[in-house]
Symmetry: C2
Subunit: 129 residues, 2 copies
């Protein structure tokens, strides 16, 4: 991320932050795409906020009823399903799987907090899925 | 993720994959929450598929018009905005920022592919945001 415009001595390309020299139609197209990216990011943030509300409830439910935290069969089904959904949406299935694992890592971190506040005796593994 | 039910000798808790011994109302609640989690995951996968379509277009646009790949000001605005959105949605802003960085890393990987296929001369840094 330390790339600077000084690397582009030939042609002196302008930066999007400095609109001079950019064809206005190109700048419009870039702005249009970035507005869509920003809308999508807002949607994803809100979907994930809702997802964490669900997994918090799962965590409390499991702690209250002494259900085991890990459910490897559930996790395997989630990964298989997400990979299939990604393929049909033309998203790299490997990326979808990595993303799920990234989110699950955060869920586990949340569960550690729940386990402490509920004085639960379960370990932190996978309880909120 | 190697946690097994054999760790729970006291009380022999049932597993969600083995419904015997679980109160049906608890199982219903767990299923309801998991169905919501699955719906949200499907929505997120599809939103991200759409996001990558946008960033692919940004990559081609920048390559075609020799725009510099990095735009640190844009990136800083994205992070500030996402952290604010996360806070209002009661999602950990730190998690939202980590997620954006995780997605951007994948975008950069895609850009490396575009740069090769377009025979571009730009570096891989940040071109698709």
């Amino acid at each position: 991320m330390t790339h600077s415009t000084s690397d582009h001595t030939a042609g002196q390309p302008a930066t999007p932050g400095d609109p001079e020299g950019i064809d206005p139609s190109v700048l419009d197209e870039l702005t249009r795409l970035r507005d869509s990216i920003d809308n999508i990011d807002a949607a994803v943030v809100h979907m994930l906020a809702e997802r964490f509300k669900c997994t918090q409830q799962v965590g409390h439910l499991k702690a209250a009823h002494r259900l085991p935290p890990a459910d490897p069969a559930r996790e395997a089904r989630q990964i298989t399903r997400l990979r299939q959904l990604a393929e049909s949406a033309k998203l790299d299935p490997g990326f979808a799987e990595k993303l799920l694992n990234f989110i699950i890592a955060e869920v586990i971190r949340h569960h550690e907090t729940i386990a402490r506040s509920d004085n639960g005796t379960e370990g932190p593994e996978g309880a909120l899925r």
